[in-house]
């Protein structure tokens, strides 16, 4: 499986629809303090549904909607490429598809949707696709800002609990 791009639309400091290419191999992101680097990671956590709003540095999901835009909703999509079994047992076929998630602010409570190639799916379906692609559904592939210091400050019991999740 290959991640090809992340598309942020009215998400945090990205009021305009922005396509962020993710290349193969070792990619880095650099820029001044406060320029939106960690917001890109929050967008990845949002679309993969691996974090609470607090883990994305927001009090509520609706805080993820950009204050710089004028829409009451935000959306993030992830372009992926994976090998699927070919028709009738033939050679595997590479297919590109998109996972998406959006949130719309409503008086009666936020309206959250999950998408596969633009069509609505349930959260459980999204998590099935992730398991199929080899993504941990609890976000263990993310090391967020200051996680390293938090890990060094843990006592022995808290450190063991990190292993409990693996078992």
């Amino acid at each position: 499986v290959r991640v090809q791009a992340l598309i942020l639309d009215n998400f945090k400091s990205f009021p305009k629809r922005t396509r962020v290419p993710i290349e193969d191999g070792f990619s880095t992101v650099s820029g001044p303090n406060g320029s939106g680097k960690s917001n890109i990671i929050d967008a990845l956590q949002f679309v993969l549904a691996t974090s609470t709003s607090k883990g994305m540095r927001a009090d509520r999901l609706s805080d993820l909607i950009s204050t710089l835009g004028n829409k009451p909703s935000c959306k993030v999509e992830l372009e992926l490429k994976a090998l699927f079994p070919g028709p009738g047992g033939g050679p595997p076929v590479a297919r590109t598809f998109t996972l998406g998630r959006s949130v719309r602010r409503r008086k009666s409570g936020n309206d959250v949707r999950y998408l596969l190639d633009g069509s609505p799916i349930r959260l459980a379906d999204l998590q099935d696709v992730m398991r199929l692609l080899g993504f941990p559904t609890s976000g263990q592939n993310f090391v967020l800002q200051n996680d390293v210091i938090r890990l060094t400050a843990m006592g022995p019991v808290a450190r063991r609990q990190v292993l409990d999740e693996l078992a």
């Binding site: 962020v20 290419p21 993710i22 070792f26 320029s35 710089l68 080899g134 390293v148 890990l151 063991r160």
Partner: protein
């Protein structure tokens, strides 16, 4: 439950010995406080950084602790792999040499999996395959200023110049 935990522990313990040898260039050991009943105790980390005595995590320097934690993170990721790994400024406690060692360790792993790493350190940025520059424009939000392939020399922009 206990058997499953011990299996995971042994896998991570063996992986940690290797990742610490790679990053800390010394000997690293994970030890259960209570091997008979793991859930009654915690997990101890004992390492011997290059040229030093074996010591506990508590008595190490800031950078030595960070390198030990990173070795544990790599060991966990080896036991529980994913197609894409994401690191946000994990190198900020490291000096120039250790940042270089970390960058090389990521490069090796990036042959099979994708790594997306945020950093302010030139030493790490110049060892990546490509660097995405971002800046914030007043009132317009985050602008992605372009992808620099490793071969090109100029930084993404003076504002974004790494320390």
């Amino acid at each position: 439950k206990r058997a499953a935990f011990l299996e995971a522990f042994e896998a991570v313990r063996d992986a940690f010995a290797e990742t610490y040898a790679e990053l800390g260039r010394g000997e690293g050991r994970l030890i259960l406080e209570d091997p008979k009943d793991p859930f009654a105790g915690g997990l101890l980390i004992k390492v011997r950084p290059r040229g030093k005595k074996l010591s506990r995590m508590e008595s190490m320097s800031g950078g030595e602790k960070a390198l030990t934690a990173l070795s544990l993170i790599f060991a966990l990721q080896e036991v529980n792999p994913a197609p894409l790994f994401i690191f946000d400024e994990v190198d900020k406690d490291l000096d120039g040499v250790n940042t270089m060692i970390l960058a090389e360790a990521i490069r090796r792993r990036a042959e099979e999996r994708q790594y997306l790493v945020i950093s302010h350190h030139r030493v790490l940025l110049e060892r990546s395959d490509q660097t995405l520059g971002v800046t914030m424009r007043k009132g317009h939000g985050t602008q992605v200023t372009g992808v620099k392939m490793a071969a090109a020399e100029e930084p993404a922009s003076e504002e974004a110049a790494a320390v």
